[in-house]
Subunit: 200 residues, 2 copies
């Protein structure tokens, strides 16, 4: 039997991506699946789909702020909405692409997401990324260096193009095969599908 | 101890309201809570909040169509996306308001939601509503008659104004006190809050 795979499209600028990132590896382990972390530029998917960031509707932004705190408590994870929001996430995402080539992308992704969504670090800046990576036991300087390679740039573009081609319009978005799951709040449904426990 | 109450804002034109409606009474029973069914005009909340119906973004509409089927299977409930969509839900919602005055609003709400979201009935028409109500063991003719009273019209307006005042921007929306939960997908979180099991 082919191993099950979860493609996990995430953007460092997305709070629900952070929440999902804290849970996806454990979900996969329970499900006998692996996670393919796919950093992508959510802003480009908004442009391509005609969707808008949720926070652009004031009532939704207000709700999201409270909702994120409920989810964080539910997950027993810290979350402090950063003062600097939204951000241009190209640099941290290129670093995530470099991290994939160098080894543990999950570890880097969680490190940079926590730096931003817990500690409020300005992850548009190389120094903040280097510190976060170093603290996670990675080689921050090497990651930053690799983030400037054509390979890292190409991978981020390829992931983003792939997301757009597959009609991704928000983040996080998961795929199992071509079945799409949009949102941190779809993880229970995703797990049910992975277990082949969804009634016909 | 005061009994816990869930305010359940729903619109007959909202498929996720239908899904939530099939589950909310059982959730409340498990939680020792009661449900206050509040039919409201979602379109007015979209206007007031600047939000748009999800299906207005093509990629989101495509996703919703598949997502609704996954949820329906997950809940073991039928769901057939109606050919006639969206609809003007004023008449079925006024009938729901009349049903509250006459007795069992939950029973009527489920009957009219199933008529539309399962059987594809045109619930903008009195005859379809009467049939759905009669089949659920209610007096359809009486409900339709009461739906034309000022009391029924006022209740629908009051619920809609209440939703807008409390920054509702989508459906279904639940409140426990002033804590808002937006979406069928927030029911697990809602249940955790009702059980006082959310970590501090």
């Amino acid at each position: 039997m082919r191993e099950k795979q979860i493609e996990f499209f995430w953007d460092a600028a997305s709070p629900y991506s952070y929440l999902a990132a804290t849970r996806i590896e454990a979900l996969a382990a329970r499900s006998g699946a692996t996670v393919l972390w796919k950093p992508f530029l959510l802003g480009k998917a908004f442009e391509a789909s005609g969707n808008r960031m949720p926070a652009s509707v004031p009532a939704k932004a207000k709700y999201m702020s409270a909702d994120l705190q409920l989810w964080a408590r539910y997950y027993r994870e810290p979350l402090n909405f950063p003062k600097l929001f939204p951000i241009n996430s190209v640099l941290p995402l290129r670093c995530a692409c470099a991290a994939e080539a160098l080894g543990d992308q999950a570890k880097f992704a969680l490190a940079v997401l926590r730096a931003y969504w817990v500690d409020g670090a300005d992850i548009t800046q190389p120094q903040a990324i280097e510190t976060a990576a170093d603290n996670a036991g990675l080689d921050g300087a090497l990651l930053l260096q690799h983030s400037q390679t054509q390979a890292a740039k190409d991978l981020l573009r390829a992931n983003t193009d792939d997301a757009i081609r597959r009609d991704v319009f928000g983040a996080p978005t998961f795929f199992v095969g071509e079945t799409m799951f949009w949102g941190n709040d779809r993880m229970a449904l995703l797990e049910t599908v992975l277990a082949d426990q969804l009634p016909a």
